[in-house]
């Protein structure tokens, strides 16, 4: 098990370097292949109406006229060791992890992202807990009472959950709970360590809108997995031993049915940590999703590059955690 984890860790680091290289190539190699000059590439990093000297300075700064691998090495070095950027008259130090410097907002990228991470993290994890608990339990009950009124009702709601977009359910919830009935405050982010109660109260609507979509998906997946598992021979063996039905369902059935759920859950969570774009936008929460939207609207390339890499990082990490969990759950993977 120990060697398995170490192997996966090494593979993950390697994967991150490759992902970073591809992302980097998209930003710095593709435009050049498409015929852009280093000068015109550099103009995109500067604010509106750039002066020629500012552009040349940035071209120099980013090393756009150097070979690509030098640029990439430079970029990686910045993440590990930090970097000095000269913007106009000032020299700015961008401490590690330096994901680049936005010449447009005149700010290093990382601190902006760092302040957005707790918002996205709170949103994603809270919603994940809700959808995992509700989705899996509804799925299990549906499978066990297949064809019953509960099953049909739950699956109809699940179909609605999968079909309704978050900006629709989110806006309806906002309208009802905040503006019409005044039951909840309009969501703003309150850090957990500042006031856990306010943190939860402010996030409850975003959590529910986000969790509704995923819970629906998970309920259907769990139901299908449970139905399949409960037909396995080893379930019959468990019953033949004289185990109580509850033990048969949880210890023997659910454990096997949950394996694919763990995989998907890891990927979903990893994806969300890179920014729950629609939810954050709907509720005006300044997480990574909203940061991404603003970066794209401003065509702020260093910010886009930074957030892309961060999202990739979350997915690679999630993937690794899933693999390790998988080996923990299923002994056949370990050996």
């Amino acid at each position: 098990m120990g060697t398995f984890i170490v192997r996966r860790l090494i593979a993950s680091v390697f994967l991150l370097v490759v992902v970073a290289a591809i992302t980097f190539a998209i930003f710095f190699l593709l435009p050049r292949l498409a015929g852009q000059t280093t000068y015109s590439l550099a103009t995109q990093y500067v604010g509106r109406n750039p002066t020629r000297s500012a552009v040349l300075q940035i071209e120099q700064q980013l090393g756009l006229n150097k070979p690509l691998y030098v640029q990439y090495g430079h970029f990686l070095k910045g993440i590990v060791a930090g970097e000095h950027y000269t913007a106009g008259p000032n020299t700015v130090y961008c401490p590690p992890p330096c994901f680049g410097y936005s010449f447009k907002s005149q700010l290093p990228v990382w601190p902006q992202m760092a302040s957005a991470i707790p918002v996205t993290l709170s949103l994603a994890i809270g919603a994940a807990v809700i959808w995992l608990v509700s989705g899996v339990s509804i799925g299990v009950l549906s499978a066990l009472k297949r064809g019953s009124v509960f099953d049909r009702a739950a699956m109809s709601v699940a179909l609605a959950g999968v079909s309704l977009p978050i900006f629709f359910t989110g806006l309806i919830l906002l309208e009802l709970f905040v503006y019409k009935w005044n039951l909840l405050p309009a969501p703003t982010f309150v850090p957990f360590f500042q006031n856990p109660w306010q943190w939860a109260v402010n996030l409850i609507l975003p959590w529910i809108s986000l969790a509704f979509l995923y819970a629906a998906l998970y309920a259907r997946l769990t139901r299908a997995g449970m139905l399949e598992t409960m037909n396995e021979d080893y379930i019959r063996t468990a019953r033949a031993k004289g185990l109580p039905e509850r033990t048969v369902i949880t210890k023997h059935g659910l454990r096997a049915a949950l394996t694919p759920i763990v995989t998907i859950f890891g990927m979903d969570l990893g994806l969300l940590l890179g920014g729950a774009i629609i939810t954050e936008f709907t509720f005006g929460l300044h997480g990574l999703g909203l940061f991404t939207i603003e970066a794209i609207q401003n065509q702020d390339l260093p910010e886009i590059l930074g957030v892309t890499l961060l999202a990739a990082f979350f997915i690679v990490i999630a993937n690794m955690v899933v693999d390790i969990l998988y080996a923990y759950i299923d002994p056949r993977v370990r050996h």
Partner: protein, 385 residues
């Protein structure tokens, strides 16, 4: 090949033939009816033997119609005895065994009749009571040990689990018991292999582990549902020997479900031949192998490769396929496939043949008269040997 498998491989070769030859040799002198089973119980008498099944019916309502998987099965079985239930796929033999374990009570099956285990009727008992009996007084060995063992739990854990439910012991004691059982079913280094997962075992070892699990609570009734079908030929004989040795050690009653007549010839005291959910023939091994009365049994015997035959001839197969259990043919369910149905003046097409004794304890459900059955079998037997 791991561990003990293959140790006595050569013994496997002549298994079916050897057992059969033994039976036939014994028959030359005596009629050999001392081990004849008690007749299918008359309705109101007190339950006899360890297991007494009377007119068991297990029907499944489906969208396409009523599936009569088991339709009027009766037999008795004493401690220390082995009953072989033989039939093609879909003849109702597995459903019968799962019904005895009470595994259909929860689903949408309709069960009627009586299953007395030690005098207690399982059909009428509460689910909680059947669950208590299951695994402790009656246990089952399944066909495919790989899919029947849970892939996520160690072999020891799964054996100990069965023991823990029915006995108030510590987990440590249950684990020690599991290791002891693995040792007894012939797993080498049982003390360490108890922590292995099923996928780390070979096929034969997995079936040994299944047997250990079934034996964990010292059951009075052991049902083996085609326990050797999924195994290598070399391992099959070992597993059968193991079951037979353990039966003598524990004194349990064994029901051996199989489509392989060679298996039951070796092990069974009594044989029940099932067709389309019904009893076709029931009697002692001698009765069924030496004086078979039902054309279906003749077909099964004719399709079995035998080493005690001097002449090499083609194996006879039974023509046609087993009937659907929703639309069982009217009259005798076997008549569309029977070569002798024309000799019954059309009764085979119209009347369901009653199970009637052709000799004490030997029951056959066929419209052919007893004399005619004997004559035809004598002819077939003479041609074959």
């Amino acid at each position: 090949m791991v561990g003990g498998d293959g140790a006595d491989a050569p013994r496997a070769a002549g298994k079916g033939g050897r057992g059969f030859a033994r039976l036939r040799a014994r028959d030359r002198g005596s009629q050999g009816l001392e081990s004849a089973p008690r007749g299918a119980g008359t309705a109101e008498s007190a339950p006899s033997g360890l297991l007494d099944i009377r007119d068991l019916r297990i029907h499944f309502p489906t969208d396409d119609g009523l599936v009569k998987a088991v339709d009027g099965v009766s037999f008795t079985l004493d401690r220390g005895r082995t009953l072989g239930i033989v039939g093609e796929s879909g003849s109702g033999k597995s459903v019968t065994s799962l019904g005895i374990l009470g595994l259909y009570n929860t689903s949408n099956a309709r069960m009627s009749g009586k299953i007395y285990l030690g005098g207690e009727d399982i059909v009428a008992a509460s689910q909680a009571r059947v669950r208590e009996l299951r695994g402790s007084k009656m246990a089952m060995i399944f066909q495919d040990p790989l899919s029947s063992l849970h892939p996520y739990y160690t072999v020891g854990n799964q054996i100990a689990e069965a023991y823990l439910i029915h006995n108030k012991v510590s987990k440590k004691a249950a684990r020690a018991h599991a290791a002891d059982l693995l040792n007894r079913v012939g797993i080498p280094q049982a003390a360490t292999r108890v922590d292995d997962y099923p996928h780390q075992f070979s096929g034969g070892m997995r079936q040994r582990a299944m047997i250990a699990m079934a034996l964990s609570c010292d059951p009075e009734l052991l049902i083996a549902d085609e326990p050797t079908t999924a195994l290598d030929v070399t391992v099959q004989a070992q597993i059968l020997d193991l079951i037979s040795d353990l039966q003598q050690e524990y004194g349990s009653a064994v029901i051996m479900i199989t489509h392989d007549l060679g298996v039951v010839a070796e092990l069974a005291d009594d044989i029940l031949v099932m067709y389309a959910g019904r009893m076709a023939e029931y009697g002692s091994s001698e009765d069924v192998f030496v004086h078979p009365g039902h054309p279906y049994t003749w077909g099964l015997l004719g399709s079995m490769p035998r080493l005690d035959r001097t002449r090499m001839e083609r194996l006879l197969s039974i023509r046609g396929t087993p009937p659907s259990l929703i639309n069982v043919p009217a009259g005798c369910p076997f008549h569309p496939r029977c070569d002798y149905a024309s000799r019954t003046n059309g009764r085979s097409e119209k009347e369901v043949p009653a199970l009637r004794p052709v000799s004490p304890g030997h029951l056959v459900a066929c419209h052919l008269s007893t004399d005619e059955q004997r004559r035809i079998w004598a002819e077939r037997d003479a041609v074959a040997s």
